[in-house]
Amino acid sequence: MSAVAEAAGVSKWYGEVLGLNAFTASFGTGITGLVGPNGAGKSTLFKLLIGQLHANQGTLQLLGENPWNNVPMMRRLGYCPEHNQMYGWLSGQQFVEALLRLDGMPAAKASKEASAALKVVGLSGAAHRPTRTYSRGMRQRAKLAQALAHDPEVLILDEPLSGADPMARVQILRTIADFAKDGGHVLMSTHVLYEIERITNNIVLIHNGKAIASGDIHAIRALIDEHPHAVRFETSQPRQLAQALARMDHVVSLEVPAEDTLVIRTRKPDAFYKELPGIVADTKLEVRGLESPDDSLEAVFRYLVG
């Protein structure tokens, strides 16, 4: 297979708003990251790839097929939406099991496969809790579990790390990497380049609905390193967490904009993300979630598009 997904001159507009603008790119085998700031068109592209939107112009193929209203193709696809809404009254086990039964799986097999998928994402302990009680990180993992439980050929993951706590991030990235190692293909969107960099070098940069660059991630790394990378923490102990993180020599600023928020900026995001889980585990500080405001990436994109 040469390309998992291909888009040629794809445009999509919502009334007068342009979602994608003559987007042309090819997504190869293995893991490919779709990187761009919020509003760049990542979710629109993924909605087109899973057949929930219809392109106004251009041609789009996933696994060699047109995805629009393509019911049989859904067996080959696993999708993790950006939003965290789920059927809150279902437990994680019931949620994954119900969706597996929609694949036509018998009840006993669906139950077994759902348990296995929840174990893979590290949610076995919470499998029988209603999903409305899950944290953001747990929801991300439950969404990933339902996406991969039926053993699809390709996973389409829309911001799968958004809002997840450090431990959940490690688990999610490990699961994605293992899926790809076993021969699966992954298209994953993010507005944080460093997240995707840990599992692949193949990226497609998207900005204002256009693919502006694609290929090896290292070519733009130097450029990105010139812009301090911001990370926003959701925590009940922002000052204590700031003290712990200030020990990293690459952290250039710390800010507590609200009683439950800490924002830090670092010049070495890869080192930061590598060291973070250890620091949080050692200090036992509560981190409910973290995300990267995309202003640092936005600066890079502004540079790239002139």
Binding site: I50, V71, Q85, M86, W89, R101, D103, P106
Partner: protein, 258 residues
């Protein structure tokens, strides 16, 4: 796709629909509303109202149950079937499985029908039981009345549900349009003399009652069709509405809500 796999999908989607309609807190309001016929019958019996008999039961239940409770319960439940999934961003989970969009509509409608019948049938049966007990007759005395109301409830739930489901696929704010249809169109068109009431669902529901009940206010309604024909017309109308909803849904696009 095999029959077994389709049956599994039907079971999952209808189960999810039933759990949503009957298993979440919203059901409390629906239960209270559906219980109005029973509460009214109990109140009349407790108040020892001398005129309370099967004739008064019919006179009260037609405007109260058929024209208010039935319409409101079907409206609230049918309009949430698809629209809530869209608003809650849960639809992608269903639509990224090997199940067609028209099948989702159909299976959800079946789940809706079961849910509203669970809500609407027991109160009307209990109200009938209270009436028979109060007038000192056995439960079998006026079975034609009970049968007429049960058929009208079943067919009315199917017809109104199909209209409201279609409206919910068609417009973003289906409740307002549904209210206009259920309470303005049905009331006004249904009460105009001549052939105009034939454009309303309530006309055919009243025709069912007229055809099935031997004695009571509906015997003089003046419909020129039998109960069987009225049932066929409403079933055909429901099928047409569902097919339209399925066709419309098949062409719909789903942009994630912000």
């Amino acid at each position: 796709m095999g029959v077994t796999e389709s049956a599994r999908r039907l079971w999952v989607v209808t189960s999810l629909t039933l759990r949503y309609l009957l298993g979440t807190r919203r059901v409390i309001a629906m239960l209270l509303l559906s219980a109005i016929p029973f509460i009214l019958a109990l109140s009349l019996a407790a108040g020892r109202v001398s005129a309370f008999n099967i004739d008064l039961f019919q006179r009260l239940m037609i405007p109260l149950f058929l024209q208010v409770v039935l319409i409101f319960v079907t409206l609230v439940n049918a309009t949430t079937l698809i629209r809530e999934e869209i608003e809650d961003n849960t639809l992608p989970y269903l639509l990224t499985r090997p199940i067609s969009k028209p099948a989702v509509v159909l299976y959800k409608y079946i789940g809706y029908l079961v849910a509203v019948l669970v809500l609407l049938v027991p109160p009307i049966v209990l109200a009938y039981g209270v009436t028979e007990a109060y007038q000192g007759t056995t439960l079998a005395t006026d079975l034609d009345v009970l049968g007429g109301f049960l058929v009208a409830t079943l067919i009315g739930s199917a017809a109104y549900g199909a209209v409201f489901l279609f409206v919910s696929v068609l417009v973003r704010k289906p409740l307002a349009v549904g209210l206009l249809f259920g309470f303005v169109w049905e009331s006004i068109v249904g009460s105009i003399p001549g052939d105009v009431p034939k454009l309303s669902v309530i006309h055919y529901l009243k025709s069912i009652l007229q055809g099935m009940i031997a004695v009571g206010p509906m015997t003089t309604y003046g419909s020129d069709i039998s109960a069987g024909i009225a049932v066929l017309i409403l079933v055909g109308f429901s099928v047409a509405m569902i097919v339209l909803a399925m066709m419309l849904f098949q062409q719909m696009e789903f942009r994630q809500k912000a």
